[in-house]
Structure formats: structure tokens, C-alpha cells
Symmetry: C2
Subunit: 455 residues, 2 copies
């Protein structure tokens, strides 16, 4: 028979079993954490009618879309989870209760140029709160609390949540008579960290056309901390001069005021007036999250407040706030940086039962008992030498092996070998099940991520 | 702004939030149960190179494939989880440990004709055990134990696992000199339940070309139970006449012998000599699972033993055994038949915290405390009338509402209202958290499925 060479497409992450265990644990932690904040799970199709998915139209994204026909239908794979959410809320508006809080963890598709760490199929893990007409600012204050808990549950410690408010920037630019160039100015100051203040100044005056004074005012505000001035104090100096600006400062103050109550320690958040987020639809609070030890990776969790989720589907005004984690890229980065927690045992089972008698009934019954107790159990039934069986347990990192031979059967016991210490004890089946269960529960709490020790 | 009418493609299941909760709980139960049996999770891409995915080629399936090009690449959406598994095992052979036990729950795509209860995008939930060269019969005996526990965990009670062995049928047909027509004969007897013995006899003689005696022998064996003869006894009468047949009987006996040890009660399995399974690649034990009260639905969990998983990718002999649950269709059927357990509360949160003071810090801190204790908590912060807030809790079936007003603050307490009984108590925040947590843990164990009471 002629063979086809098996391969996986480039840009598609397909993990070996041990790595998949880490990925699954990360996804599980996200599901659990999002659920703790009262978000309900949604699952929308990966395929939508192109007309619906591309209703908003245009832009960089459209070139990357996987679009095709099947019969008469013009179809596209989703490229994010936000457009399907907008469709869902517009379609089911009458049957939903608002504010509508949903999370979705699912694959999305973008035909990006293939390069290391770039994926064409990748998971996004999104939460959004959608209001009907209005949405209170407290929802924006809650988001950093969710981000903080999420990364903590994953096991990450050294990260900071950066917060800004688009109204502050928009209002400030209006104040300086730059309302019509707000977008360009924002895109420029967004580069501050990368290119430094001198280059930002040069671009603002030479390319965007600001006067030296306007450019100086912009830079003075956003770099206030370098001169020892807290951002809220620097902002206070402009109070009462522009309504949008004042609203933005008021919102930012509210968000910051409640962070402690939402469980976010001072060490893990920061007002950052340079954050603008590229997307045009953000209208209030915006968030970025960066790893303190790896700022070069960029934001690992971003989002913000928007005023109009589904304007291209419905006349209803649907403001919202949401964040998104690019889970596939995050996993790639964490693995790449050596952040997978080696204390987590990525084994498919907690116990391997090795029957040593011709009649397997007792061994099988004991395995059934273990499973009923919630212990993940394999029975090894292949006809191999003893050494091969132990190698199997070793290679899969299975922490316990149970032998049931004639001696054990006669004594009503089972032999339990701890594969890490090498210790072996002979106990009753009930005791063995309880002891293994207790040991396993401890390791179940192991976080999938752990930062490497610093030297 | 001109609007695009939001819609979801027909043949694509998209659930409202309450229904999605049931679906998620079912998927969670499957993940948990499969993991208990030592299966490791896998996640392969939804898109594969067409050349790889269609290596086996031909057949009904190919017409249904979603196939398209992106740039130079000829791509296809997976139509099952077995072909991607074959690719994965062939590709990663050197890095896997055998027997390789994996589960995968994922969406697959088939361009079926749209009709009620037929889906073009649907979940399959598969487990497979893959051997390297050989695979012991005990793996085939374990599968009914997994099927039994899986449906039990879902909450289903009235089902039966039907078991047969292809070697018995193949050997028997050889015995009768029908080896070359085995496929046709199998497809015919597979219809026994639907069309009855007379029509089966007629097709076997008139269309397939069997003599009346051959057809009679076939029917006599497969309908033995109607004459009060147990299948294993009926099979014993043909012992020693055909090697394949004898092996099949030996395997079936082994599978049946260990069912009790694997936890399958007599009431829930049945040898059924009419089961053949359409797919050509099954070579040993085959399984079907039918709902006792709804036999018309057909098999809700099927599979079997095969000898050659990945022959079109590799020379390695990779025998295996596996089963598949069509989760989307199963969910559709169960909902349609009124099997969703109304005792499960499909609420996105266990508690709704209603702040009644201007400063929300205390309410938020209490919500943070609840979440830390593992209680799913929402804070309602919209500026609405009290009645609207209670309606919100009601519509989402949130079981507890917590009020924190000035009186409670002064007394260091919170007011907890049980939304089902209407009872309201004033207790310390710590007590409230513990009480709600305990109540919630009880409901967490509720199965998603419950058979309706019979009248």
C-alpha cells in the first residue's frame, strides 16, 4: 500500500501528550476562574455566513480570513470571538438577561504569515459583560480583579495590569486642539516604550504636524511618573477644561478606588497613560497585562470598554467591557521561557494496576474500586516482561504501581509501589485506595505554571 | 448604518445560555470519566492538508467534506477524530508510549443535507487504545465498563450495551461457504430489527444469492434467543469448525467473563449477534449502545476493535479499540425527549451580591471573599429599581441574593435571601460564605440528565 506522509500544517499547534496536559490544565483554570465571576459558558460555531461575519468589513483582518464556498453558501471561519458574540447577542436579544456575562474559550483562524510563535489556528479565551443601553463603571473596575485571579490560578506571579482610559486621551487631545488627529497621536505615543521620548517627539512634530508646544504637553503628561508625579495628580492639573477628559479621570479614579476590594494588590496594577489599544471601538477603560520579567513578550491579556458591540446587526445600543487571552500564544511563550511547572506530573493515570495472576478478576475489580473512588487508573494487560511493564509506568510518569499476585490475593492485600521513592507496602485494597486518593488530591492542586527561580 | 441580519447557519447548533450549561456539564462528565480510565487528552487541528486527511480516500464521506484552498494550500476540515488520530500516532510514533490511550472531544464537519436533528458541525467524544503490533483482549473487555460508567455519570439509567464480535460472523460465513459475500450478508442482517426475519430471509436468498439452507442457518444462529437459547450456547454448537469463528467466540467469552469485574451489571449488556457495524475496518469486538425506552434513536455510543489504524501513513501495525459518542446529536435527542434534569440549576452564579450603600467597598470585598471560597458570585451594580434587581436574579435562577445595606454594615452582617424558599437571614459574612458554599456543593453533584418518570 502506498503511504501518504503524515504531517500537521505549519502554524497549527499540535502538542505531545505531556504538553497537552499542561494546556488542558490552563484551559480548566480559565474556565473555573471565569465561572467564579458569574460568567456563563457559550459555544458558537466556527463557521459563519461570510456576509454575517464580515458585516463590519474591511481592514487588515479580512485578508487573513479563511473564506470558502460549500454548495451555494459563502462561508468563513471566525477570526475572533467578539464578532460571533455580537451576532449572538443581536440574534437572541429578546431571550437574554442583561447585563449579559459570558465567557468563551475557542479556536479562531487567521491566515498569518508562518513564523515561529505565530499561529493560524489558536485559542482565544474571552469574557465580556454586555449591557442593555447602559453599563455601570463597576464592571470596568471588576475586570482587573478577574485578570489578577486568573493569572494567579495559572501560577504566574510576576505580572502587572496596566490601566488607562481612552476618554482621558481623547479629551486631552481635544483640549490641545488635536481632536481630529487623536488616532495618529495615540498610535505614536503607544510606541513610547519601544522608541523612547525623543523619537516620539520627532514623529509628533514632523509627521503628525503638532507644534512643539502641543507635542511637549502630550509628552509631559504621559511621562509624569518619571518626574515623580503620580498620574492621577498630573491629570488633576487639567481638571474642568474638557468634559470628556473629566469623565475619563472620574472613571479611572473609580476603577482604581475599588481595586483593593476586588483583591488586586498595589504591586500588580499601574496606571499607564500611554496605553491606547489599537482597536477603534474602545471608548473607556483599557487594559494590558505584561510579564514583569518578560516585557518583550507584550500584553498577554488585553481589552477594554466599548459603547457599541453590535451596531452592524442591530439598532439596540449594547455597551460592554471585555478581555481576551490568546491562550495558544501564551502557552507557547510560557513553555518557551521554561515556565511549565515541573512539579505537575503530566501522567495520564495516578495508578497502574499490574495483574500477576491468570484470572484477572481481582485486579480488575480493584481497578473498578479505585475508579469509583475518583482515582485515575490504568490496567496493564499486555503480555510483556515485568521490566517492560515498569518501563511503561516510568515513561508515563505514573506515580503508583499496584501488584496483585497470588500471595497478595491469599492475604487479601495489594502491593503498592511508590514510583518516586521506590518504597513498596502491602495493604488492604480499601487502605490502598484511600492512601492513593489522598496523595493524588494534593498534586491535583498543582498550578500548571511556575516562574523559574532567579539566580 | 445599514444592518446585516444576524443569523446562525442551519445545521449548526448554537444554544441559549441555559441549555449551554447542560451541554458543558455533559462534556465535563465525559472528560472526567475518560480521565478516570487513564486516557490522556489530545487536541488536534480542525484543519488538515487534504492529501493527508483524505489519504484513505473514497466513499460516501468524501462528498460531505468541507474542502477549500487558502493560498497554495489544499485544506479540509476533519470529518471525524479517527483519521487525525491515525495521523498523530503515525507522525509521533517514536515519542509515544504504547498502548497509547487517548481521548478527544472536538468538533467535526460534514456537509449533510440539512434536516431536523442532523448537524453539519458536531462534537464527537472519542476514546481509543492503540497497541504497537499487538493489543490484549482485556482492552476490549474494558470498553463496556467505560460506556456504562459514562452514561451513569451523565444520569442515564435505561440503556443497554450490545456486544458482538466480527470474527464470529466472518468465521460463520466462511463455514457456510459465504466468505466472499460476508459484507453483503452482514449489511442485510444488520437490518433484522428494522425489517424483520422474513424480509431478511428474502433479501439473503433473492438478492445476495444464498441457498435457502444457508440463509436459514444464518437466521437460526442470530435469532437463537427467540427460541430460548443463550447466544454463547448457540455458538458452542459450531465449535471447532472454523479457526476465525473459534477465536471470535473465545474473545467474546473473555469480554463477557470480565464485565462484572469492570462494573457492568447484567441488566446493562447483551450479546447481540446481529450487530456488524458498517465500517470495514472493525475486526473483532463491536459495540452499540441503545436507550431502552427509545430504541428508535439507534446507537448512542458505538465502536469496536480494528487491526490497522494507520496503514495509509505507516508500515507499523497499529491495532486498537475505540468508541465514539456523537455528543451534539445525543444532546439534541435528550433535550428533545425531555431528558434534561430539571433539578440542575442552569444559573451562571450561585450568589448575586446587591450593594445597598453608596460606597461599594464592603459589598465588593464580600464578593471577593465568596469567590476565594469557590462560590460563583456576581455583583449587581446597575442603577435600577430594587424590583428590577430581583427580577434579574430570578430570570437567571441565581439561588441566593445577598444584601449589604447600612444596617448590615453597622452590625457586621450580611442579609442572605434564599430565592427558592424566600427565607432571609442576617449572618456574619464568614457564616454566609460557608453556608452558601455547602449548599452549592450539593447541587454541583446533580447529573445533567434524568429520565422522565413513567406514568
Amino acid at each position: 500500500m502506498e503511504k501518504v506522509k503524515p504531517r500537521t500544517l505549519s502554524g497549527y499547534m499540535e502538542l505531545l501528550p505531556e504538553k497537552q496536559v499542561y494546556f488542558e490544565k490552563m484551559a480548566e483554570k480559565l474556565r473555573e476562574t471565569y465561572a467564579l465571576y458569574g460568567f456563563t459558558p457559550l459555544d458558537t460555531p466556527l463557521i459563519e455566513a461570510s456576509e454575517v461575519l464580515l458585516a463590519k468589513g474591511g481592514g487588515e483582518t479580512e485578508k487573513q480570513i479563511y473564506r470558502f464556498t460549500k454548495g451555494d453558501a459563502d462561508l468563513s471561519l471566525r477570526f475572533d470571538l467578539t464578532v460571533p458574540l455580537a451576532k449572538y447577542v443581536a440574534l437572541n436579544y429578546g431571550q437574554l438577561t442583561f447585563p449579559f456575562r459570558r465567557f468563551q474559550i475557542g479556536k479562531v483562524y487567521r491566515g498569518e504569515r508562518a513564523q515561529r510563535g505565530r499561529f493560524r489556528e489558536f485559542y482565544q479565551a474571552d469574557i465580556d459583560v454586555i449591557g442593555d443601553g447602559t453599563l455601570d463603571i463597576i464592571n470596568e473596575a471588576e475586570i482587573p480583579g478577574i485578570i489578577y485571579r486568573t493569572f494567579n490560578e495559572l501560577g504566574l506571579r510576576n505580572f502587572v495590569i496596566r490601566i488607562n482610559n481612552r476618554k482621558i486621551l481623547n479629551g486631552f487631545f481635544e483640549m490641545l486642539g488635536l481632536g481630529d488627529r487623536a488616532g495618529e497621536v495615540m498610535r505614536t505615543i503607544d510606541k513610547l516604550e519601544k522608541i523612547g521620548p525623543d523619537k516620539v517627539l520627532a514623529i509628533l512634530t514632523d509627521d503628525v504636524g503638532l507644534t512643539a508646544e502641543q507635542a511637549g504637553d502630550v509628552l509631559l503628561l504621559i511621562t509624569c511618573e518619571e518626574r515623580g508625579i503620580a498620574p492621577l495628580d498630573a491629570l488633576a492639573a487639567y481638571d474642568g477644561r474638557n468634559e470628556t477628559f473629566d469623565t475619563g479621570v472620574e472613571e479611572l479614579s473609580t476603577v482604581v478606588r475599588y481595586l483593593t476590594a476586588f483583591g488586586v494588590p498595589d504591586t500588580h496594577f499601574k496606571i499607564d497613560l500611554t496605553i491606547a489599544r489599537g482597536l477603534d471601538y474602545y471608548t473607556g477603560t483599557v487594559y494590558e497585562t505584561t510579564m514583569t520579567d518578560h516585557p518583550e513578550i507584550g500584553s498577554i491579556c488585553s481589552g477594554g470598554r466599548y459603547d457599541d458591540l453590535a451596531g452592524y446587526y442591530t439598532d439596540k445600543k449594547l455597551p460592554g467591557v471585555g478581555i481576551s487571552i490568546g491562550l495558544t500564544r501564551l502557552f507557547f511563550v510560557l513553555e518557551d521561557q521554561g515556565y511549565l511547572n515541573t512539579e505537575l506530573t503530566p501522567s495520564p493515570a495516578d495508578v497502574l494496576v499490574l495483574p500477576m495472576t491468570d484470572d484477572l478478576s481481582h485486579a480488575i475489580s480493584f481497578a473498578t474500586e479505585l475508579r469509583a473512588a475518583g482515582v485515575r487508573t490504568q490496567i496493564y494487560s499486555e503480555k510483556k516482561k515485568f521490566k517492560a511493564k515498569m518501563t511503561y509506568a516510568d515513561r508515563l510518569h505514573i506515580p503508583y504501581v499496584v501488584f496483585i499476585g497470588e500471595d497478595e490475593l491469599a492475604a487479601g492485600k495489594v502491593a503498592v509501589k511508590d514510583m518516586v521513592t521506590g518504597e513498596q507496602i502491602s495493604v488492604s485494597p480499601g487502605m490502598a485506595a484511600a492512601a492513593i486518593k489522598a496523595a493524588v488530591e494534593k498534586t491535583e492542586r498543582t498550578a500548571p505554571i511556575k516562574e523559574p527561580e532567579k539566580n
